[in-house]
């Protein structure tokens, strides 16, 4: 599989000129915000999605949508430097941040790599216009990390496909228009060879959607049940029984996106107050620890790791681009995202002390509550265990893990005890 086809096109406008034009346009057209106190874009609610679509339409009409997407599908076809400068200029404006992942960075990027010309023209331009939200329908209740072991079935009935099964952990599927759904189309071959990717309209008859409630109360994730959902051949992405190639591109884009290393993301602001980076100086002042060397050292260390994470994202991005690191090195960013997240949440739990666990009226209990869902950073977007396997095997070249299902027809493979 070749690299994502975001080959930079020629432009006569320098990055600085582009930045100046973006600055003027943003001031004129986009709602300004305080980046320290951004509007809440809770992915579990309906309204933020409607708002995101509106904002995306404005960006598209202003000529600032899809900066790194090719021109022929509605983007600008520019190198990442233009996206970075736009991110920088747009810090104080409200952007449709929640469209970044998975819609742009994973789903649209994968359609760009593997979709038919019709699919690219239809869906990439639709997402850039703010007309479509995309979602991934990959994980199943039967297992997450062993993605190629999915058991949702797609059976050929005449010239139609009939889908039965269940998917889970799809981000905000309730607000989406289409989902990239991986199903098994051949059970008589080894697991990777019998899969097909479909682009499914979420409002189709035959799909039942249910919200999942998480430890922190969030209801952004969904599960979907398919009962005789019918699809045509135009819903197939890539080849029939070639679904694993498509899913691999999704995983590749997902690992980069989760760490913050995708050129297809636009805007770098927070999705809401709970997503704003922790202000340690304010926290130490609020807790009377501004002069505590112990507290300052804990906070300083967290700030160091936060900064190195950003430096590493840049280093890995350019390393993959110039070939000094293999594409699988995106997993380095993925693991670092989780490790840095853990260090920050552990630090803030330590620094907020008893105020983090008993609500004494200073609002710091939110840090204790955030700590409870700390592991989401090491689970969502593929576990860190899988990411470390990938680094060990595909970056360093060590032998692959033993797999009992390798080369075995899928219908002969042992599955969960029910």
């Amino acid at each position: 599989m070749t690299e994502t086809a975001s080959a930079p096109t020629e432009t006569t406008e320098s990055v600085e000129e582009f930045a100046a034009r973006a600055r003027a346009w943003l001031a004129e057209n986009m709602p300004s915000i305080d980046p320290i106190n951004p509007p809440e874009h809770d992915r579990g609610e309906e309204a933020p999605w409607l708002r995101a679509r509106e904002l995306q339409t404005k960006l598209y009409e202003g000529g600032f949508a899809g900066i790194c997407f090719p021109k022929e599908y509605g983007g600008l076809g520019l190198p990442i430097a233009y996206q970075k400068t736009f991110d920088n200029e747009s810090r104080c404006y409200e952007l449709p941040i929640i469209l970044n992942t998975p819609t742009f960075t994973i789903c649209a990027a994968t359609i760009l790599d593997t979709g038919s010309e019709e699919q690219k023209h239809q869906h990439i331009s639709a997402v850039l216009r703010g007309d479509e939200v995309l979602v991934q329908l990959l994980s199943e209740p039967s297992g997450g990390s062993d993605l190629a072991g999915v058991i949702t079935r797609a059976e050929r009935k005449g010239d139609r496909w009939v889908i039965n099964g269940a998917k889970t952990w799809s981000t905000s599927a309730f607000a989406a228009d289409y989902g990239l759904m991986l199903a098994r189309t051949d059970w008589d071959v080894p697991k990777h060879e019998g899969l097909t990717m479909f682009l499914v309209p979420i409002d189709s008859p035959g799909i039942t959607l249910r919200r999942i409630k998480q430890v922190n109360g969030s209801v952004e994730f969904c599960e979907e049940f398919f009962d005789n959902l019918e699809l045509g051949d135009d819903a197939v992405v890539g080849e029939v029984n070639g679904g694993w190639q498509v899913a691999s591109r999704q995983l590749y884009h997902e690992r980069r996106a989760v760490g913050g290393g995708s050129e297809f993301a636009s805007g770098i602001g927070a999705e809401g107050k709970s997503d704003v980076p922790i202000d340690y100086v304010a926290l130490l002042q609020a807790t009377g620890q501004a002069d505590s060397e112990r507290a300052r050292e804990i906070a300083g260390r967290a700030l160091v790791h936060r900064a190195v994470r950003e430096q590493l994202i840049d280093h890995v991005y350019h390393g993959v681009l110039d070939g000094s690191l293999p594409p699988a090195a995106g997993s380095i960013i993925r693991v670092t995202h989780a490790d840095t997240h853990h260090l920050e949440f552990d630090s803030v739990l330590a620094l907020s002390a008893s105020s983090g666990v008993v609500d004494v009226g200073d609002g710091l209990i939110r840090y204790g509550e955030r700590y409870l869902s700390r592991q989401t950073a090491a689970l969502g977007g593929g576990t860190t265990e899988i990411a470390r396997n990938i680094i060990g095997e595909r970056v360093l070249g060590f032998p692959r893990e033993y797999a009992a299902d390798r080369g075995v027809a899928f219908n002969q493979v042992k599955r969960n005890k029910s």
């Binding site: 260390r301 430096q311 670092t336 060590f398 032998p399």
Partner: protein
């Protein structure tokens, strides 16, 4: 490192083959056996390759191949790290970094340092005190046309091999720096051993040492910026050299994971070890990323240089010694033998962790700088 121009590639390959031939790990063990830190003639030849001229402008007899002397110097340090090379690269570079800021009266000293004829070092630490370069207890009292220096410094790298010292001292209530020859009456140098195979340090006493007025380097107003610059150069050299060391150690430890078999399988096929290797790779790339950022900020004299250097120094210092210990664990018993080369790297990495500020001290600095930035905005 940054983009490789043909000139830089040539410089790198000349430096690398010199180091491989003349500063191998075997040579390091020989020097250790002989109780020698480095050979003066070897250092002169290293200087001829251009190592000492990189921070020095052309009009003072220096020059760099790429026009970015700081990045070239960091490249030398990284290559030196690959074989844990001996030599006074850090102290000489640190002294030169100060002198070129105020070269007046010091042109001859700069020339002799660049030629490698003379070794110089920075006398900045005071006995019993942690890293605090602006907090000097040595005094420089005006006397006649010059100054009288009194007090004690320690942890002076290559102090016993140095002909001149750049001494941080308090003079009339402000911090200044003075060039003091080690053969001046009243200077006594007492070696201090380190955990490194060859790097030595020294305690230096100044008992009524008389120096000329021209021994002062820079004005009182310049001094804190000069000291900041010297500190940054010292720290990025440590980080870059550690990156070179980690690269070598990771390469041979990963190879060990392919070659060494137990229970009929290569070590690297066990998931518990594969994951350890993955972490080593992650931390290595992060060390490289943060070092590159710090080098670039120092090279461009960016206002963010101090922050970037403290970030790199903290991160690299926090991770590198533990990474060496992990590599030792991956090697098994052979890793803790004198015969195996791992300890040569572990010694140098551990030395650098704690010199010019520990990770913990740099964390405090990063916090303090963040606090300042927030109070300004």
């Amino acid at each position: 490192m940054t983009e490789a121009s043909p000139e830089r590639l040539l410089f790198a390959s000349t430096t690398q083959s010199f180091l491989e031939k003349e500063a191998s790990l075997g040579r390091l063990r020989e020097l250790h056996g002989a109780g020698t830190a480095f050979e003066a003639d070897w250092w002169r030849r290293a200087a001829e390759l251009g190592w000492t001229s990189l921070l020095v402008p052309e009009e003072l007899g220096g020059g760099s191949v790429s026009g970015d002397g700081v990045a070239d110097l960091a490249l030398v340090a990284e290559l030196a790290g690959k074989t844990v090379a001996p030599g006074p690269l850090h102290p000489v570079s640190t002294v030169l970094a100060g002198l070129v800021e105020a070269p007046e009266n010091h042109e001859d000293t700069i020339e002799s340092l660049v030629s490698g004829e003379v070794v110089g070092s920075w006398a900045v630490y005071q006995p019993g005190k942690p890293w605090s370069p602006l907090d000097a207890a040595v005094t420089a009292t005006p006397s006649g046309s010059g100054f009288r220096i009194d007090g004690v410094k320690d942890r002076v790298e290559a102090g016993a091999e140095s002909a001149i010292l750049l001494v941080v001292a308090r003079s009339e209530g402000v911090v200044r720096q003075f060039l003091v020859p080690t053969d001046a009456p009243g200077v006594s140098v007492e070696p201090q051993r380190s955990i490194d195979m060859v790097k030595t340090y020294a305690r230096v006493r100044f008992d009524g040492v008389e120096v000329d007025g021209s021994a002062a380097v820079g004005s009182a107003e310049q001094t804190s910026d000069m000291i900041a610059r010297q500190s940054q150069i010292a720290m990025i050299l440590q980080c870059a050299e550690i990156v070179g060391m980690l690269e070598t150690v990771l390469d041979f430890t990963i190879q060990w994971g392919f070659d060494r078999h137990s229970f009929g399988r290569p070590l690297g096929s066990y998931q518990a070890l594969k994951h350890k290797y993955a972490d080593l790779k992650i931390w290595f790339e992060a060390c490289r990323a943060t070092t590159n950022s710090a080098v670039a900020e120092v090279a461009s004299r960016s206002p963010g240089a101090e922050m970037a250097v403290s970030i790199a120094k903290s991160y690299v210092g926090e991770h590198a010694p533990g990474m060496l210990q992990d590599c030792t664990q991956l090697h098994g018993g052979i890793g803790v033998t004198w015969e195996h080369d791992l300890h040569l790297f572990l010694r140098r990495v551990t030395l650098y962790r704690s010199m010019f500020g520990t990770p913990e001290e740099h964390n405090l600095n990063v916090y303090a700088l963040t606090e300042q930035l927030e109070s300004v905005s």
